[in-house]
Symmetry: C2
Subunit: 161 residues, 2 copies
DNA sequence: GGCAATTACTTCAGGCCTCAAGGAAAGTCT
DNA sequence: AGACTTTCCTTGAGGCCTGAAGTAATTGCC
């Protein structure tokens, strides 16, 4: 057994996954903390709220809470609270379906629509600003490569659903 | 003005930053939810706790709460609570410095050290498993590219500290 | 029809998270 | 020394987050 090979093997390719994971985590944490701060300061909103509104924005007829839950990757119980707070300040409305009284549909109000448009514009600007120093070609490549990581992860979850 | 060019321009290079951001967010969310679930099920721990313990593990003499706060990217107020809970179940201990009675140092207990080693081993295995389908060369390239995104973002925060 | 299983949402306990305000110790300035 | 400032941590309010248990409404099966 060649010690040099073992040694280089141990320091070179080893723990690449772990390092990448930690870096991904640190990067998104850094960026979302910044986005959070700005959303709060300039719009009095939170990131989960922004995320939820973004889903509703592209569905004029609204979405059921369950659908909202899976699209935002947030648990049902959590969606209930988010929707309650957003309804309280008039951004969205919630109504029971007549056909099936179990389901509740949430929809943006007119006020909510304008409100979201302002945030979305700023949000996109902030992201571009933060990624300003990354080459466009790298950006494109990253999009694909991160996609590969996501798909790999998706195939290795414990109990599928 | 060539409409076709405009059209392809609008769909090709546009919003790459936004798309990448959303994908990064979705990927880390997916993976950390899975890690969270497993840490909880198999060790009764949470991700922030694991993160905090990892910092203490490599510092035999412990760390001041402020240092812990900046390394884990968690606010001071939050560290207080995390440390309290971890101290309560005997994983770490907290003691005031004699020289400077403002500072508190947290350190792993012997029990905490063994406990963490078990988690760390499993954690690394899970990460590798989730990234199993990503080519090693891509992994290495991603590490550098994500690093570039992080550095760009770091240079574009609102008020520096 | 009647009853079990499923589906859609809500509630709750426990923990994470931030920001802002506060208390106490140490450092600084005159 | 005494007052001002800074540093380090804690507290508290408000919101996010999950998993588990609970309540209706609907569906499916006999």
């Amino acid at each position: 057994m060649d010690l040099e090979l073992v040694a280089s093997d141990a320091q070179e390719g080893k723990k690449q996954e772990l390092k990448l994971w930690l870096r991904l985590l640190a990067t998104t944490k850094l960026m979302s903390q910044e986005i959070r701060r700005r959303l709060r300061r300039e719009f009095g909103a939170t990131l989960p709220q922004f995320d939820l509104l973004a889903q509703l924005y592209r569905e004029k007829d609204g979405l059921r809470l369950g659908e909202l839950s899976s699209r935002t990757m947030v648990t049902n119980g959590n969606v209930t609270g988010l929707v309650e707070r957003l309804e309280a300040d008039g951004t969205i409305i919630r109504e029971r379906l007549e056909d099936d009284k179990r389901v509740t549909v949430a929809r943006l109000t007119e006020k909510g629509r304008t409100y979201f448009e302002g945030m979305a514009e700023a949000h996109e600007r902030w992201i571009k600003e933060m990624m300003a120093e990354v080459e466009p070609t790298i950006l494109t490549r990253l999009l694909a490569e991160v996609g590969a990581v996501k798909e790999s992860a998706q195939r290795h979850l414990s109990e599928e659903d």
